[in-house]
């Protein structure tokens, strides 16, 4: 075989190919910073999964639908309740009746006027078990809804509760138009009263919203918002660097760190949701409080935070709601205390050590598996061996719900109000008590008081006691809260990040 012929033809092919690649690459930057008018592009890793606000659980779906729909009440940046569709609300009849005065002159995006009938229809839909609405458990105690006139709604509660109005700030209680509920077009044609209107949804790619011209509130500066799906967090950072995306929503601290290097503006707001090492007190090995306290004392929360999340976060106590924040040092071992831990193990007669089956979820958020690895290494120092079982999210959720574990690394959602946050976990009648695997008469009474105490300072004292009770009995080991990262290019102005991760303040944001 004549060598020369093959070489020339082989190389010829390669050169031709190389030229083709460079030629295309040449005119690349013409499209890099095309920003169409006042449309803000939000980049994030997941697409919305449905359009019905009452069924939305995925974080990114709630974040998008809250632009289209309004709730009766909302939160300001410090998570204090502020009026939305309800201008005023008063408790009466020993906190068993709530009267809400509605905003007048409000229209839905399809032009139909907003009235108390819509609120009634919405609440009835949420309460109806057939809807399987997410917020149902939080407002289940509403027994009936009256609409004396177009602008007033009266809620009758089955038992006294001051937290029900706060629950109305939850996006899952978005107010729909009675007409849409009847027509059943909620999941196909979104029609709210919020600042932005639904324009187009290309699944797996992007959701496009445009300004609602008939919005009752101040006119949003942005012409529209586009939520774009970029599955890989590092690619979101690259999209920001290329200017094609102006606001990025990240959860992986490592990706956020690389964004810092890219000269972008990063808003780090502590999250409400908390990283916790749940112990299953109903299991024989963990029945004795001393063992649980030993574990709590043997874990250096800061080390878990530094190794698993590169220090991107803050050590936390049980309650993360800003108004009722627990003091992280108010626990048996404010910092790691091996001698005390070993003492606890000795009193429990378990110095020889115990073995626990621990489950952890992979896929949903980046740091879980790393947290487990560090906790496992730390607990070796008191002879507590963890058999790690990594589960894909579907399998994890099933095992978690059935409390089928000795221990579990979890990221549980926080709420602005501690009642809606822990009521269902640590009260004997709570729907998730089986998962928490701990309750006590003292906690039951404390939660009952907290639920009915209208005075805020008294409520804070009650939840402080609850926080101490949880730390003293260590059903769980609260570790740290991460950050919500909202990364913006220099063109974004006036955006206020929220600890709930909500993008509600996009209505005040401008581009330019």
């Amino acid at each position: 075989m004549k060598q020369s012929s093959l070489i020339r033809s082989g190389i010829g092919l390669l050169i031709g190919l190389a030229m083709a690649v460079t030629a295309c690459g040449g005119n690349s930057n013409s499209t890099s910073s095309t920003k169409v008018g006042g449309i803000l592009v939000v980049g994030r890793t997941a697409d919305i999964d449905l359009l019905d606000p009452h069924k939305a659980t995925a974080f990114q779906t709630v974040q998008s639908l809250e632009q289209i729909y309004d709730t009766l009440v909302g939160f300001d940046s410090n998570l204090n309740l502020i009026p939305r569709l309800a201008t005023k609300w008063t408790y009466s009849d020993n906190n068993q009746t709530v009267t809400l005065n509605l905003r007048t002159g409000v229209k839905f995006q399809d032009g139909t006027p907003f009235s108390s009938a819509d609120v009634a229809a919405t609440l009835t839909r949420i309460l109806d078990p057939k809807t399987a609405a997410v917020a149902r458990s939080n407002i289940a105690l509403i027994s009936s809804v009256d609409t004396p006139d177009a602008n007033t709604v009266i809620l009758h509660l089955s038992s006294p509760n001051v937290a029900v109005v706060t629950a109305m700030a939850d996006d899952n209680t978005a107010i729909l138009s009675a007409k849409d509920i009847a027509a059943g077009t909620v999941n196909t044609a979104p029609n709210g009263t919020g600042p932005f209107k639904f324009s187009k949804w290309t699944p797996n790619q992007q959701l496009e919203l445009v300004r609602n011209p008939t919005y009752w509130g101040p006119k949003p500066p942005l012409d529209g918002i586009t939520f774009r799906v970029i599955p890989d967090e590092n690619s979101v950072v690259s999209a920001l660097e290329s200017g094609n995306v102006q606001l990025g929503v990240l959860s992986d601290p490592l990706a956020a760190k690389s964004a810092q290097a890219g000269g972008l503006h990063i808003d780090k707001t502590p999250q409400l949701s908390y990283h916790v090492f749940q112990l299953n007190a109903s299991r024989p090995a963990l029945k004795d409080v001393n063992v649980r306290l030993a574990i709590s004392c043997a874990i250096d929360r800061k080390q878990v935070l530094d190794t698993a999340a590169l220090g991107e976060g803050a050590v936390t106590g049980p309650i993360t709601s800003p108004a009722y924040l627990s003091d992280p040092n108010d626990r048996p071992c404010p910092s790691r205390d091996l001698t005390k831990a070993k003492a606890y193990m000795a009193t429990a007669g378990k110095s020889a050590g115990i073995t626990l089956d621990a489950i952890v979820e992979t896929g949903e958020y980046a740091t879980a598996v790393n947290e487990m690895q560090n906790v496992q290494a730390q607990l070796k120092d008191i002879n507590v061996t963890l058999n790690i079982e990594i589960l894909e999210s579907g399998a994890y959720v099933q095992r978690w719900l059935a409390a089928n574990f000795d221990a579990a690394i979890a990221l549980n959602g926080g709420r602005p109000d501690p009642e809606t946050m822990y009521g269902r976990y640590f009260t004997s009648t709570g729907s998730l008590n089986k998962v928490a695997a701990y309750s006590s008469p003292k906690l039951d009474t404390l939660f009952q008081q907290g639920r009915t105490e209208p005075d805020v300072t008294k409520r804070k004292a009650i939840y402080k006691q609850i926080s101490e009770e949880l730390e003293q009995n260590a059903p769980w080991v609260w570790m740290f809260t991460g950050f919500n990262y909202n990364v913006e290019t220099t063109k974004v102005h006036g955006f206020t990040p929220m600890s709930t991760g909500s993008l509600i303040f996009l209505r005040e944001t401008s581009l330019g």
Binding site: S9, L13, L51, Q205, N234, S235, V237, S238, G394, L432
Partner: protein
């Protein structure tokens, strides 16, 4: 040919059965996947209503049969989370993956044959080591490493990340489409080039030693003509086979590059379907990937006939 079609059909039924069973085996179902830890809050009757909504209460064989019946009538089922019909989703996502796979295979073919000829020109020589080295290197580095490095480098250095813009179909905006698919195709192309290179190399070495090549040289035919009209032409069969197989693998295998380059391909559609336990989405999408794979194999067979007159004679 008819026998081959029957075989292909049988294969597809096999795939549908396999994907249906495997999905039922995975723990967790649509409800736990969509509601996550909140699903613990559901009351028994809520759970029951949801199960019927997702069609989980019917006996398995029935679920399989009515899904298959729907598929045959073109109704690929519904993605219950997004209310989208799977056929609409697939109509959008399959062309993306097909175009990506086509570009990657074309690039891989050209690079693979080029490198293969280069290294075959002097077996066990320096060129051989060079050609093999580059080919194997492309094979050895995991695609997600190359992809992420490429994306972050281009964005950080040149602020160039066309994939951040929504996916532009070739007929909508050809220039943007090419820019969005060029680099992912490059990354995947390396993966195709390696096996094509190795097949080309061994095929060319083998064909070069055959008598009719010496006859051609004995007739004074120019080396280039000998290389292309005689050697490469006869080496085409194994090369086309290797390339066809690679194209088939790309249909399902491009999921990682689709993730990193944010391309709404069918690989990602299936991956999301698995994570969200969307049985209808996974089953139908996998069936369509399998169908595409089978069609590709049939095309490769037809290509055989065009290339090799001896086969055409049968």
């Amino acid at each position: 040919m008819a026998r081959r079609l029957a075989g292909a059909l049988l294969t597809l039924v096999g795939v549908s059965l396999l994907v249906f069973l495997v999905l039922r085996v995975i723990p967790g179902n649509q409800i736990t996947a969509s509601l996550g830890t909140e699903s613990g809050v559901l009351t028994p009757e809520q759970l029951a209503s949801l199960r019927s909504y997702y069609g989980l209460n019917q006996p398995l064989p029935l679920q399989y049969l009515d899904w298959l019946a729907n598929v045959c009538t073109g109704n690929l089922g519904l993605s219950l989370r997004s209310g989208q019909s799977v056929s609409a989703m697939t109509a959008a996502s399959l062309p993306v993956t097909l175009e990506l796979a086509l570009l990657a295979t074309a690039f891989g073919f050209v690079l693979g044959v080029g490198l293969g000829m280069l290294s075959a020109s002097k077996p066990n020589g320096v060129r051989d080591a060079l050609g093999q080295g580059v080919g194997l290197l492309a094979l050895a580095i995991p695609s997600f490493v190359i992809a992420s490095a490429l994306v972050s480098y281009l964005a950080a250095k040149f602020g160039y990340f066309p994939n951040a813009l929504p996916y532009a179909a070739p007929w909508e905006d050809p220039l943007l489409n090419i820019q969005q698919l060029m680099f992912p195709a490059l990354v995947l192309g390396f993966g195709v080039a390696a096996p094509v290179m190795r097949t080309t190399r061994s095929a060319i070495i083998e064909v070069s030693s055959l008598d009719f090549v010496r006859t051609a040289r004995g007739k004074g035919v120019s080396p280039r003509q000998v290389a292309f009209r005689h050697v490469l032409r006869n080496a085409m069969i194994p090369i086309v086979t290797a390339t066809g197989i690679q194209f088939g693998y790309l249909l399902g295998g491009a999921v990682i590059v689709e993730q990193i380059f944010a391309l709404p391909g069918i690989g990602r559609q299936v991956l999301n379907g698995i994570l969200q336990r969307e049985y209808a989405v996974v089953q139908s999408s996998v069936l369509i990937i399998a169908a595409a794979f089978v069609v590709v194999n049939l095309l490769v067979d037809v290509l055989y006939r065009q290339i090799d007159p001896r086969v055409r004679a049968e």
